[in-house]
Every structure is written in structure tokens, then in C-alpha cells.
């Protein structure tokens, strides 16, 4: 059994503590294990940016093993954007080195009296001065720490200026612009004056049955190589979706106000990227899918070389803003990543501002630029303002919910969020189960915590028992789809593996992988119940934070039918969808887990806490 590193930045003390075997058996690791710690140690009324909040960096049992697609880590905390549960996941190489330095997780508590960073190498950890790093962007920070410590192999997880300035859209960055993006974990890190966590690990991670683990990995690789959908990620990245996602209505445009924008999708998609600016580059550690993009733009005002945008960012700075300039999207992506702001939420708040500008609520002087749709100069200016918490960007960086509340004048009608989390770019009016998944998602509107629309796309799902043919516009029978997708995502977040890879993996395969690495008996049923347990635990924390069933809803804009497309006029009916979902969950009519459900999941100890 592994160990955690607990760091109190107020007292500047560090101590190792063993993983609790019972918690690990019940919740695996990653965001599952973190949910237990946060439930136990963070008060529901804690200020997310105050000393009582805690920030966890968690790996899983498969991290740094030979099993592919497990290069990820989870950053978990109470969100300053939503004021409830948050887990945000990132990939790259950092997680492997952290685990090989001897730790499964890091708990950061308290607040430092001056900027610091953590340096962890092969079982030894220390707090170091980060004064000279304060103000650097995320790329500069990583380079400066490697230079200071004299080792180019050091991996760094850090914040940029946005996190330092406590921008609620601030994220945690690592390696080549990989992001634990959503919900403002970067602002929590900034509130603790923790600039970075630098790691270098060379110790071997124990595996119970290496032969079996390699067999399971082989099956995963073969399954994905021949999977008609997942195999698209290799040549085209996640951006392949733009090529044809507009036909189903999945892709939002113009702040969710335009049903279809074929021209934009034809200029921004993964095939175009592959044919014009994509260059070969390393994948995430141990990954054969290789969805990460590396681009080189040789000429023009946006000439650059570096990490390229994935689907959500292309929608955020492209279709949502009516911008079809691929080079400009690449530039905007790089800028947002350097400042350390979530590209999904940033695109959403800029789209909101452009609509407010169009309606005359925001003027040119207030914006500091001409915020018209598709104006790339305005997009870049707003990213700069948000990343530096200045001008109108200081307001937008708080997220659309708070921006609309402060602006007033009817702007709430087009502030697209759930519980304060901007909605990611899969339209729930195209697949109605996604309406349920967004309305009830553990961290707010989130496709990583329940991409149930996948279950409405006709692919065979032998492990779920649901039919392959589902009417995507029906309100009936969608609760079980949302539950299945959310619970599977919860297991993925606790094993800490890649969501894309998990789409090519059924519960039995996940059970085999867990059994091989832990030596414990795992079954499909145990995997499914573990996912349900984690989802409920995260829900309970959010209920303790003050969330109620009334918050399980969609914004007004998403309850209006799209103007055109195959989903024109389609509106999900939450009065049917939500009760069905609560029934499937074993929750009461107010969205609270019943005592019976908590007992079934072995969570009776928290039954009285909300």
C-alpha cells in the first residue's frame, strides 16, 4: 500500500501518511479517494480561497505502471467557481514522475506567507522559495524551475498569472500545456501561494501481476485500434469531431444561439489541422492513441510552434465566437494556457460578452475593444484581460454566472452554465440524456463526468444492458444513461486513466486491470458499484456546500430550441428527465441520496451530514 504526502503551508511542515486500505478498496484512488478526504476534512461552508480549503493532487493504482493511457492525475478541491465539489484531470508526464517519487497523492493545506513551490524527488520533499517565479506564465515557470534545480527531466505542475490573481477560471498546468482545466483549481493553488509542484521520480511502482496487466493492456490496444470512433483520435485528435458533429447538432455556435455553422466546422476540424499545420510530436506518457496535437504555423501574424488546440478549445475560441481562423484559435489556445485559464470557460465568457456587446449591454470603452463576433483581435484582447484580471476581463474571469449577476440587464438569459460551471461544447438539445448529465454533474456541467450522449449514438454497449438504438430526442429512459455515464467516469477518475481509452473498454476490462495491479479480486459489478459510490460521495459533499435539487437544471438558453439543424426546435424536458434520473439513482425528489442508498453503498457514516 502506498502513501500520501501532507503539506501544511501555514506551518511549513511536511509528513508522510499511509494510504488507508479500506478507503482504497472502496474508492480506488484519484478523485474517488480524494472525495473521502475532502468530505472528512473540508467544511461545507469553507471559503474555497481560504485556509480551510484543501487541494489534493492524486494519482491512481495504474499510474506509472506498464498499463497505457494512465498518465493522468486529478486535482481535487472545493471549487471557487461553483462553490462545491471539484475534480480536474490532466495528462502529460507529471503524474508518472510524482508516483515514481514515492507518492500516490499530495494533500496541500493552509496558506504560505510568501510564494513557495514544492520539490519532491524519490521520497524526499521540501518547500522552496518561489518569489522570483511569481508573475511568470506556466511555460516560463516550468523552465525556470528546471534551470534552478539543474535537471531537464523534472516535471512541473504549476499555475500562471491567473491562478496567482485568484481568477476563478484559473487552472493547473503541467508539461506541454496540459491542463487540469475546469473549476478554478489554479485559483485555489494561488490562494495558498503555491506556485508549483516539481517532481522527479525514478523508483519502481509495484504491480501484483505484471503478466496479467500486460495481457489486459494488449486487449485494450487491440480494441481501440479497431474501434471505428476511438481510432479517429490518432490521425485527427479530438478535433475530428468538428468535421461531422455539426450534422447531429452536437457543436454549439455563437454562444449556443445558432444551431449549425457548417463553414466554421469545415475550416476548423482535425482533418484540416492534419493537412495544414500538424507536425509529429511525442504523445502523453505511455499512450498509443496519441490524440495530443503539436502544430507549426510558418507565416502570418499567428506564426508559432507548440501544442495545438483540442476539440473543446476549437469550439471555445472558434464556433462559439464565430471565428473560423484556425491559426487565431491556435494562438488564443497558447495564450490561455500560458496564463493558466480554462479554455472552455474562457471561450464561454467571451461568447457571453460578445452577445452582451451585440445587445448594447457592454460598450466599446468598457470592453477595451470591438467585441463583435469573429473579431480575432477582440478574442485575444479578452484572453489577455481575463488572464491578468484587468478591465472587463476581471469581471468575466469570475465566470458567466457571476458576470451576469453583476451586469444584470437581462444578461442571465444568455449566461450558459450549470451551478456556475460553463457548459462544455456538446449540445444537450441534440442528445437529451446529456441534459440530465449536465444538470446533475458532480462538478457542474461537464462532459468528462458523464458523456452520456455517447450512449445515444448507436454503438453496441455490451456491459451496460441498454439497447444500441436509442431515440436521442426522447425524454424517456434517459436517467439510466446519465447514471451509467457518470458512474463510469467516476471509476475512470479514480483509476486515473484516460477517458478516451475508457470508451474502448468495458467494465470487465477495468476489473481485470485493477485486479492485476492490486492483487485483489475485482468484478464488473464491483467496478460499477464503486463508480456509483464515488458519484454519491461527491454529491454529498456538494450538498454539504449548499447545493440543492433546485440547482439541478439547465440555463435558459439550452431550454430554447435551436433555430436550424437536425435538432431544430428540440428541447429536453427536465420535468420528465430529472425525476427519472433521481429514481435510477435512488435519490429523493430533491436530489438527495436516500439513507437506503447510502447504506447500500457503505456510506452510512455520512448520511447525517447534509
Amino acid at each position: 500500500m502506498g502513501k500520501l504526502l501532507r503539506v501544511d503551508l501555514t506551518s511549513r511542515t511536511l509528513r508522510d501518511e499511509p494510504l488507508d486500505p479500506e478507503t482504497a478498496r472502496a474508492l480506488v484512488g484519484g478523485a474517488g479517494y480524494a472525495a473521502r478526504i475532502i468530505n472528512d476534512e473540508v467544511p461545507g461552508d469553507a471559503d474555497p480561497l481560504g485556509p480551510k480549503n484543501k487541494l489534493l493532487f492524486m494519482t491512481g493504482p495504474l499510474t506509472a505502471t506498464s498499463f497505457p493511457t494512465t498518465a493522468r492525475y486529478e486535482v481535487c478541491t472545493k471549487s471557487p467557481l461553483t462553490n462545491m465539489w471539484l475534480d480536474a484531470s490532466s495528462s502529460g508526464w507529471w503524474a508518472r514522475d510524482f508516483k515514481m517519487a514515492g507518492y500516490d497523492g499530495l494533500i496541500v493545506e493552509g496558506v504560505a506567507d510568501a510564494p513557495v513551490y514544492l520539490w519532491i524527488k524519490d521520497g524526499k520533499a521540501e518547500i522552496r522559495d518561489a518569489s522570483r517565479l511569481w508573475g511568470m506564465d506556466s511555460d516560463e515557470t516550468q523552465a525556470a524551475i528546471r534551470a534552478e534545480l539543474g535537471d531537464e527531466k523534472i516535471k512541473v505542475s504549476c499555475i500562471g498569472p491567473a491562478g496567482e490573481k485568484l481568477v476563478p477560471l484559473g487552472c493547473v498546468m503541467n508539461d506541454e500545456q496540459r491542463a487540469a482545466g475546469r473549476g478554478g483549481a489554479g485559483a485555489v493553488m494561488g490562494s495558498k501561494k503555491l506556485k508549483a509542484v516539481a517532481v522527479r521520480g525514478t523508483m519502481k511502482v509495484p504491480v501484483a501481476d505484471e503478466t496479467k496487466l500486460r495481457e489486459v493492456a494488449k486487449g485494450l490496444r487491440e480494441g481501440i485500434t479497431h474501434h471505428p470512433v476511438v481510432s479517429q483520435f490518432t490521425p485527427y485528435g479530438t478535433a475530428f469531431l468538428l468535421e461531422d458533429g455539426w450534422v447531429s447538432g452536437d457543436i454549439p455556435n455563437k454562444n449556443w444561439g445558432k444551431g449549425v455553422w457548417r463553414k466554421g466546422c469545415e475550416l476548423l476540424n482535425g482533418r484540416v489541422m492534419a493537412e495544414t499545420i500538424l507536425v509529429p510530436h511525442a504523445a502523453c506518457q505511455g499512450c498509443f492513441i496519441r490524440c495530443a496535437r503539436w502544430i507549426k504555423i510558418n507565416e502570418g501574424r499567428f506564426a508559432m510552434e507548440g501544442p495545438g488546440p483540442e476539440y473543446e478549445t476549437l469550439a471555445a475560441f472558434g464556433t462559439m465566437l464565430m471565428n473560423d481562423d484556425l491559426a487565431a484559435v491556435c494562438w488564443a489556445n497558447d495564450l490561455a494556457n500560458r496564463y493558466g485559464i480554462d479554455t472552455i470557460s474562457t471561450g464561454s465568457v467571451i461568447a457571453f460578452a460578445m452577445e452582451a456587446y451585440e445587445k448594447g449591454v457592454i460598450g466599446r470603452e468598457e470592453a477595451g475593444c470591438d467585441l463583435t463576433w469573429g473579431n480575432v483581435d477582440a478574442i485575444i484582447e479578452m484572453i489577455d484581460q481575463i488572464g491578468n484580471a484587468r478591465g472587463l476581463g476581471a469581471l468575466l474571469g469570475k465566470g458567466v454566472k457571476r458576470a451576469a449577476a453583476e451586469l444584470g440587464r437581462g444578461t442571465e438569459a444568455y449566461a450558459v452554465h450549470v451551478k456556475g460551471m460553463e457548459v462544455p461544447y456538446h449540445d444537450p438539445r441534440a442528445y437529451f440524456s446529456q441534459a440530465t448529465s449536465y444538470a446533475t454533474g458532480p462538478r457542474g456541467a461537464c462532459h468528462m463526468h458523464g458523456a452520456s450522449f455517447v450512449l445515444e449514438q448507436g454503438a453496441p454497449r455490451p456491459d451496460t444492458g441498454i439497447p444500441s438504438e436509442v431515440d436521442r430526442f426522447s425524454n424517456e429512459g434517459k436517467g439510466i444513461l446519465a447514471k451509467l455515464a457518470q458512474d463510469k467516469a467516476s471509476v475512470v477518475g479514480s483509476m486515473v486513466m484516460c477517458m478516451i481509452a475508457s470508451d474502448g473498454m468495458i467494465y470487465a476490462g477495468m476489473a481485470d486491470a485493477l485486479e492485476a495491479v492490486t492483487g485483489e479480486p475485482w468484478t464488473s459489478e464491483r467496478v460499477a458499484q464503486t463508480g456509483e459510490r464515488i458519484t454519491n460521495l461527491q454529491r454529498v459533499f456538494s450538498l454539504k456546500c449548499g447545493i440543492t435539487g433546485a440547482d439541478d437544471t439547465l440555463p435558459k438558453r439550452l431550454l430554447e430550441g435551436p433555430d436550424e439543424g437536425t435538432h431544430a426546435g428540440k428541447i429536453p424536458d427536465l420535468s420528465v428527465l430529472l425525476p427519472d434520473y433521481y429514481r435510477e439513482r435512488g435519490w429523493d425528489e430533491n436530489g438527495r441520496p436516500t439513507p437506503k442508498k447510502l447504506e447500500e453503498l457503505g456510506l452510512t457514516d455520512i448520511a447525517g451530514e447534509f
Partner: protein, 93 residues
């Protein structure tokens, strides 16, 4: 009359062309179109995309006529200049 059948995403790679221009008699139906392109589809598409038993795109495919709601009814009458969009619904990102 002429209608265009457009293939997007992985279907484009499988068919080998972005679109096919299909000549059909006036008042042709969607069934007529399927019969016309059937041999080509049978030869180029895998089982998950083309249902050889039903001589139609598999249930997993999304077919739309001029970006209207999902096309399933094979008696639907087509018109000159129609675009039939065929995609494999995809997720990701």
C-alpha cells in the same frame, strides 16, 4: 434528377470520396437512392456502416436530408439538388 450523397469523418475515408453525385429518376425515393448506391456502399463500407441485409446504412449511421431531422423513412421522396448527409455519430473531446 441529381442528388449529392456526402460522407463525413471516417466514412469519407472508407468511401474514398467526400461525396457522390447520383442520377435518379424524377420522384425517386430514399429507397431508390439506397438501391442505386448499394453496390458501391457494399463494396467500400464495413459492416458497422452498411447493413447488407437491409441494403441500407446501418442503424448506427445518422442520415439527414438537407440537414433536416434524421432520415429513416425509405418512402421519403427526394428532390433535385438534395444533399444526403451520412455520418457516424462521434463523441470525444
Amino acid at each position: 434528377m441529381q442528388v449529392t450523397v456526402s460522407f463525413l469523418g471516417p466514412l469519407r475515408d472508407r468511401v474514398g470520396e467526400k461525396s457522390l453525385l447520383v442520377e435518379l429518376p424524377a420522384a425517386a425515393t430514399y429507397r431508390d437512392l439506397l438501391d442505386s448506391i448499394g453496390p458501391t456502399m457494399q463494396a467500400r463500407l464495413p459492416d458497422w456502416a452498411w447493413d447488407s441485409g437491409r441494403r441500407s446504412f446501418s442503424a448506427r449511421m445518422m442520415v439527414s436530408r438537407n440537414l433536416a431531422a434524421d432520415l429513416r423513412d425509405e418512402t421519403t421522396c427526394l428532390a433535385e439538388g438534395d444533399e444526403i448527409l451520412v455520418v457516424l455519430p462521434l463523441a470525444g473531446g
